[in-house]
């Protein structure tokens, strides 16, 4: 019973990270029909902003030296600025291009970011302990769980609530939903395309920054390719959840997280190394039965 409870919290914490990453992808896909494969690299940049650029083995604090409220603010700003610059420099000139072109451009952007980090920080992963006190194990309703997992789940719930509030009750949020549904019509009613798209990128960058911090705290390490597996699972989560639906992104994120942990527990020890293969097998099966994902969306092909 206790093991089940602890596994459940494990699953929810992992699912939360995937859900946040999937939302970051979903927000941009909603308004631009762009699957931003550089999203994982936004997360990586957030992590690297904590340490000073150098090729030395030992990591030295940069933003990581700040007191925590300032640290969170500074990392958030770094990733949001990166996301906005990506939009301005890479995706805005390509706005009229096909979805495939945009996607390839996002791959290119991802590589540019990764190799820039490689240049300034070297390719070797670096140990960096962010907020080690959060990794201690605490007693929670009779379970012994890492504080960080509870924090991850709580932060995700707060962010989800905030995002729902923004999308439902603010004028900009309503405009963003309208643009996601029919961008041309929204523009005909005076909704500014550039502003809505920039807002989607900004929000996506904000979510990526939160993941950076949670992920570094959990792993205690920064690496050039640390965002890649997160991006992969988050992308799969958006597909499983239903491409184009933000609810679907969250549902998909948790589904993939829970599935991973469940397989980790259920698989025989010899097969655990191949857990991800089983996760993807399960996803193929889900998609065979629900090709458009768990939450269906009326196909929207039109862009700006």
């Amino acid at each position: 019973m206790i093991a089940l409870g602890q596994n459940l919290i494990d699953a929810l914490a992992l699912g939360s990270l995937y859900a946040l990453a999937a939302l970051g992808i979903g927000l941009i896909f909603g308004v631009l029909r762009l699957i931003n494969f550089a999203h994982g690299d936004f997360i990586t940049v957030g992590a690297y902003s904590l340490i000073i650029p150098s090729t030395q083995v030992m990591a030295q604090e940069m933003l990581g030296a700040l007191p925590w409220p300032l640290l969170i603010l500074a990392v958030t700003i770094v990733v949001i600025v990166l996301a906005l610059l990506s939009e301005l420099i890479v995706f805005r000139p390509l706005r009229a291009a096909s979805a495939a072109t945009l996607m390839i451009a996002s791959f290119a952007l991802g590589f540019v970011i990764q190799y820039t980090l490689l240049l300034f920080y070297s390719g070797r992963p670096k140990a960096f302990g962010l907020w080690p006190e959060l990794t201690q194990v605490v007693e929670f309703i009779g379970l012994r769980v890492p504080l960080l997992q509870l924090l991850t789940i709580a932060v995700t719930l707060v962010l989800l609530g905030g995002l729902v509030g923004f999308l439902r009750y603010t004028a900009y949020g309503v405009q963003m939903r309208a643009a996601a549904e029919d961008f041309r019509m929204a523009r005909l009613l005076g909704v500014k395309a550039n502003r809505v798209i920039a807002m989607a990128f900004g929000l996506s960058g904000f979510l990526a920054a939160v993941i950076s911090l949670l992920f570094v705290t959990q792993r205690g390490i920064v690496a050039v390719d640390m965002g890649t597996p997160l991006m992969l699972f988050a992308f799969v989560a958006t597909v499983v959840g239903g491409m184009g639906s933000l609810v679907g992104a969250v549902v998909g994120g948790y589904a993939v997280g829970i599935l991973s942990v469940a397989l980790q527990v259920a698989l025989p020890v010899d097969l655990r190394a191949f857990r991800d293969a089983f996760v993807f097998l399960a996803i193929i099966i889900i998609l065979l039965f629900r090709p458009s994902g768990i939450v269906k969306v009326k196909a929207v092909v039109e862009r700006v």
């Binding site: 309503v174 309208a178 549904e181 029919d182 019509m185 005909l188 009613l189 005076g190 500014k192």
Partner: protein
């Protein structure tokens, strides 16, 4: 008020509109009629900034608006109601209306205008909190016209308001458009497939076929036969028969 001067619009190799000139005066009600593929929708999309003409210019209120993007054209006072209604189906009726006020800063004016729209379209008031996708076709048409009105337009361009609606509903739509013109001073440019409706409702009309204006004039001066001849292009056949 609106001068479309000799515009030519192409989609890649295909020329959809060649040298079309249409003028609409302040407070007028003008219809553009023509068969499928005549270039009517293309013309309206060019006015609203979705398409840019290869040649020619569009002027509104005395200034050139060619090449300006749709959101800024909307700000200048042209509101386009595209073919097929285009409600935001997942948003509530109320949210749909509020999108129409995206560019406005006068909160009290917005509230008063929403109230006015709901007086024009009482059915919408009953359904304010429902998703717009659940409305009937007629209600959706009312919603998009009401929503367009909330941008405080000087000119409303409507693309085929009768498409897919029962004749009785279509009459209501035209009745309301005419009331908006008389009571709110909105100028109307309407694309219509039915020559009869155009003759009944507009003050002036243009017949478009094969991307060119075939006939123009005051509806009072035109006979249904004239308009139909221009519409179908039977002149040549009549001459050779």
């Amino acid at each position: 008020m609106l001068n479309i001067n000799n515009i030519t619009v192409r989609y890649g190799q295909l020329t959809a509109v060649r040298g079309v000139t249409i003028k609409v005066a302040q407070g007028e009600s003008v219809c553009v009629v023509g068969p499928n593929g005549a270039g009517k929708t293309t013309t309206l999309l060019t006015v609203s900034g979705v398409l840019t003409p290869a040649e020619g210019t569009v002027e509104f209120d005395g200034g050139a608006v060619t090449g300006i993007n749709p959101e800024n054209i909307a700000r200048l006072g042209i509101s386009h109601v595209p073919e097929g209604r285009h409600v935001f189906g997942l948003l509530t009726v109320e949210e749909n209306l509020k999108i129409g006020t995206a560019m406005r800063r006068d909160r009290s004016g917005v509230a008063a205008d929403i109230e006015k729209v709901l007086e024009y379209f009482p059915r919408l008031r009953e359904r304010l909190k429902q998703p717009a996708g659940k409305l009937s076709g007629g209600e959706q048409q009312m919603l998009v016209i009401g929503r367009a009105l909330l941008t405080r337009p000087k000119l409303i361009t409507v693309d085929e308001p009768s498409l897919g609606l029962a004749p009785k509903i279509v009459d209501q739509v035209y009745e309301i458009l005419e009331r908006l013109r008389q009571e709110e001073g909105v100028t109307l440019l309407i694309v219509e497939q039915s020559t009869k409706r155009a003759l009944d409702h507009a003050e002036r009309l243009y017949v478009l076929r094969s991307g060119m204006v075939q006939l123009e004039g005051r509806t009072a001066d035109l006979s249904a036969a004239d308009v139909e001849r221009a519409y179908f292009g039977f002149d040549e056949h009549a001459a050779t028969a």
